[in-house]
């Protein structure tokens, strides 16, 4: 019953995100700097002065935007707390999915539309399904007391958490908000390997086109490295999770016991 409530909540959040999206996407906030003619290829370091695209306030400071932000922030934090506190693993996974949906909506508010969709597809779609599969394989939904540590461990852990909170708070206090009149360097020209320099064309912010231009331009090497990493991860996962002796069935790897 609890799972059902969480599913309904997640669907509700998704609906609200869908309603909210067009008005958020509409206002394209970043004016792309026009590159002066004749400076396309040979002057990549030319500074084109442009006013900073955005103010302190992310967008539109409207009350609707604020209300949506608080709703999604509350959803993501509540889901995260659900993960940490629940004993039931399936309930924890459902809280995680709700948290990911909220995080995806927050990405949308940051104009990272492509990342928001990827977040939903990869995290809420693929990784969480993987978790559910493993939980079903293990077939032990209820177990585990929380934190059976001694007094010393609690003291050390509390001190570490307090230190981390203090450092994070200091960093957040010292964040320098960009001045509105700051002049930024123009976006770097896109280098395609073997194709010379292509002048950066104005692209939207956070769209598939922008991310794709970046990913297959300067980010080509990390992209290929990620593909190899994923291949290695797949092979490694199969090699680790496979029983050592296929005839034994699923029981008792002799290699693990001391």
């Amino acid at each position: 019953m609890k799972f059902l409530a969480w599913l309904i909540a997640a669907a509700l959040i998704l609906c609200v995100a869908g309603i909210a999206t067009p008005s958020l996407v509409h206002a394209q906030p970043v004016p792309t700097a026009e590159r002066p003619a004749g400076q396309g290829g040979d002057a990549p370091h030319a500074i084109v002065t442009k006013t900073h695209p955005h103010d302190d306030i992310v967008e539109s400071s409207g009350k609707g935007m604020a209300v949506l932000f608080w709703i999604f922030a509350a959803a993501s934090i509540a889901g995260a707390l659900f993960v940490v506190t629940r004993r039931n693993l399936i309930a924890a996974v459902m809280g995680m999915v709700g948290s990911f949906v909220g995080i995806a909506a927050v990405y949308m508010m940051l104009y990272a539309q492509f990342l928001a969709v990827i977040q939903m597809l990869v995290y809420a779609g693929a990784i969480m399904v993987l978790f559910v599969f493993v939980i079903m394989i293990l077939n032990r939904p209820e177990d585990e007391p929380v934190a059976p540590t001694g007094r010393l461990g609690q003291v050390i852990g509390g001190a570490a958490i307090l230190y981390l909170v203090a450092r994070l708070a200091m960093i957040l206090i010292n964040v320098a908000l960009p001045n509105k009149a700051v002049a930024l360097a123009s976006p770097a020209p896109i280098m395609l390997p073997g194709w010379g320099t292509v002048a950066a064309e104005p692209v939207g912010w956070g769209t598939v086109k922008a991310v794709g231009n970046d990913l297959f331009g300067p980010g080509l090497f990390p992209f290929e490295a990620i593909s190899i990493l994923l291949l290695v991860a797949v092979v490694g996962a199969i090699a680790i999770a496979r029983p050592l002796h296929p005839d034994d069935g699923t029981d008792a790897d002799p290699g693990i016991h001391p």
Binding site: A80, A92, I103, I118, V146, P148, D214
Partner: protein
């Protein structure tokens, strides 16, 4: 107070990411189930991604590689990490019948 509630700025997103990160840290520290620990790690990676995107939005993309691409790569690494971690959990469970990280002390001696 009204400003804090209705003028959603970058600070709100940064604080949200920090809160999510701290919840992930708390999950890693207080839970003993390996699956929950993996999920908490995913939560921390998401918080880091949110910080990246917020700073990208704040400063614009100035370098060669935009924060969106970087966040995408982080998601790919997180997927690889989750798959290998879950495979290790399955392998450990097959041998020992539990995934309590406090009871996995064979390598300690």
């Amino acid at each position: 107070m009204n400003d804090l509630l209705f003028d959603v700025g970058y600070g709100h997103f940064l604080v949200l990411a920090a809160v999510l990160f701290l919840i992930g840290v708390a999950g890693v520290l207080i839970r003993r189930n390996a699956l929950i620990i993996l999920m908490s790690v995913e939560l921390m990676l998401n918080a880091a991604n949110m910080t990246l995107l917020t700073f990208s939005r704040m400063w614009g993309d100035q370098g060669a590689l935009s924060a969106h691409t970087f966040a995408l790569i982080v998601i790919g690494v997180a997927a690889a990490e989750a798959s290998v971690g879950l495979a290790i959990v399955v392998a450990v469970f097959r041998g020992r019948r539990n995934v309590d990280v406090d009871k996995l002390t064979t390598l300690r001696h």
